[in-house]
Symmetry: C2
Subunit: 146 residues, 2 copies
């Protein structure tokens, strides 16, 4: 792998509260201030949701990648994530993100290996390493029913 990478995105204001987010060849995504804030727009992706999503998706892609490389027989993986924003010294910022993965594996021996790998994935996740917020994971790993 290289030691330096660049990632680009583009945004265009469509008038009113709405913007359109894109990056080369990716599906376009409408964006706006979230309803939690004054003048927010419902049912549209917000900067705050994209931020939490970046950390949550990073854990998924990292974990499923190293699980495959380690031949863990993964049946399913889903997670929810919650980011907390607080006012610190007069400025709002994210102080905590909790990611809760639910992982199902096919074989008894994979339960312990999946646990090791989800902790390793958290350490490797470059998005989490780029945040001032505390990132915690609260995982549940189970064996698939036969």
């Amino acid at each position: 792998m290289d030691t330096e990478y660049k990632f680009s995105t583009q945004v265009e204001w469509k008038g009113g509260k709405i913007g359109e987010l894109q990056s080369d060849g990716f599906p376009k995504v409408n964006v706006a201030t979230p309803v939690e804030f004054p003048n927010g727009v419902p049912n549209v992706w917000s900067p705050e949701h994209l931020f939490v999503a970046a950390a949550e998706v990073c854990l998924m892609t990292t974990f499923t990648g190293i699980a495959e490389a380690s031949k863990v027989d993964l049946v399913s993986y889903k997670s929810s994530a919650e980011g907390k924003v607080e006012r610190i010294d007069g400025k709002f910022r994210f102080t905590e993100i909790i990611i809760s993965p639910e992982i199902v594996v096919a074989r008894e021996k994979d339960v312990e290996r999946a646990e090791r790998l989800i902790n390793k994935a958290k350490e490797l996740c470059l998005v989490s390493n780029s945040l001032t917020a505390d990132v915690r994971i609260d995982y549940k790993i189970t064996l698939a029913a036969n």
Copy 2:
């Protein structure tokens, strides 16, 4: 405004390299490792792109919101953003995000006001305040042709 907010997202692995990102009522978004990394998937949103997008969109929503409140007559706003990832002490992380807004205003007097507001928007942006990366803006403000 309150002093604490929470933002939630959910991810489900769809098998292979692909996950599905959602949040209550928002359009679903496919996600994967970016092509810049080994086994990346083209034309799909990645954690790294979502991360850069969060900072870029935050600047747009904050600027257009305060421009409206300040009665700046905004003709158009678009931006591009580039995030740089570097390996520091053996760990990859974002070290810099450069956001380049192109702002067009309708009235001569709004050029200077827009300049003041884009700098203020950068200070207010809660996503930028939650990153370890250095966030810089490189703006261009012009007067619309009559």
